[in-house]
């Protein structure tokens, strides 16, 4: 939908959505939120961009191809599970660091896992929506 008003508003809403998605991701362990909903919200940000500015515009600001996001997300989730194995505990055993980091909070394998979820969900929704919209535009 080519609309000056929408396009201009998108420029503000887009980063807000992304920011908020990260907020949801890292808060999820303690408050409502988490990787899923974070990933979904992030995806809506790009979807909005694609809707108002075209798929090409959305692709331009994507940090990586959606497939790569999916693969990376899956590997991150997998890696978080392997940490436990490497430590001689069962697969996916939650292990936590002691220091607290900015944004992330205490680093722990569940956080990495949730981040993997976030990336995967983002990649998935983007791959689906961008593919479809691209075809729709064609």
């Amino acid at each position: 939908m080519r609309s000056l008003i929408l396009a201009a508003a998108t420029r503000v809403v887009f980063p807000l959505l992304l920011l908020f998605s990260v907020f949801l991701l890292f808060r999820g362990h303690n408050e409502p939120g988490g990787g899923f909903v974070g990933g979904l919200v992030a995806a809506t940000a790009y979807a909005l961009l694609a809707l108002t500015g075209g798929v090409a515009a959305a692709r331009r600001v994507l940090p990586a191809r959606p497939e790569v996001l999916i693969g990376t997300g899956l590997l991150a989730a997998l890696a978080s599970g392997l940490v436990g194995l490497a430590a001689g505990r069962p697969f996916m055993t939650g292990l936590w660091g002691d220091v607290s980091l900015p944004v992330v909070g205490k680093p722990g394998t569940p956080v990495l896992f949730d981040a993997g979820v976030y990336l995967t969900v983002l990649g998935v929704v983007l791959l689906i929506l961008l593919t479809l919209q691209e075809e729709d535009e064609a």
Partner: protein, 118 residues
């Protein structure tokens, strides 16, 4: 009951009343633009009131900040929806209320009304 609570309650009730008004409007108004008109602002007002009530009701700076942020979001996004719908309805040629006095907006294409999805 503290004054803040009272104020919050009043705001909440005002918001709810406005929301009800919006719903009432969407039922009563005769055509798409008027319905959209009724809902977009009344509901925005409603949301603002309710969020302000929230900001007051919790003795928590964080909640207040988030509530105000929510109001900002609402101001930012609610008009976009109204704009998009109004524009689409107009472009589609959805019939206007017969009482519409002025129409200075040119039809963009053929002006033929077409239902996209009978």
């Amino acid at each position: 009951m503290s004054l803040r609570d009272l104020l919050a309650a009043a705001l909440m009730l005002a918001g709810v009343a406005t929301a009800l008004l919006a719903a009432f409007g969407v039922v009563r108004m005769p055509d798409v633009p008027t319905r959209m008109s009724a809902t977009s602002k009344a509901s925005t007002l409603a949301k603002m009131c309710v969020f302000l009530a929230l900001a007051l009701a919790f003795d928590d700076l964080g909640v207040a900040a988030r509530s105000l942020a929510a109001v900002a979001f609402v101001f930012l996004t609610a008009p976009l929806a109204a704009h998009a719908i109004g524009r689409a309805a107009f472009a589609l040629g959805v019939p206007l209320f017969p009482g519409t006095k002025v129409n200075e907006m040119p039809r963009r294409n053929d002006g033929e009304g077409c239902d996209p999805d009978p």
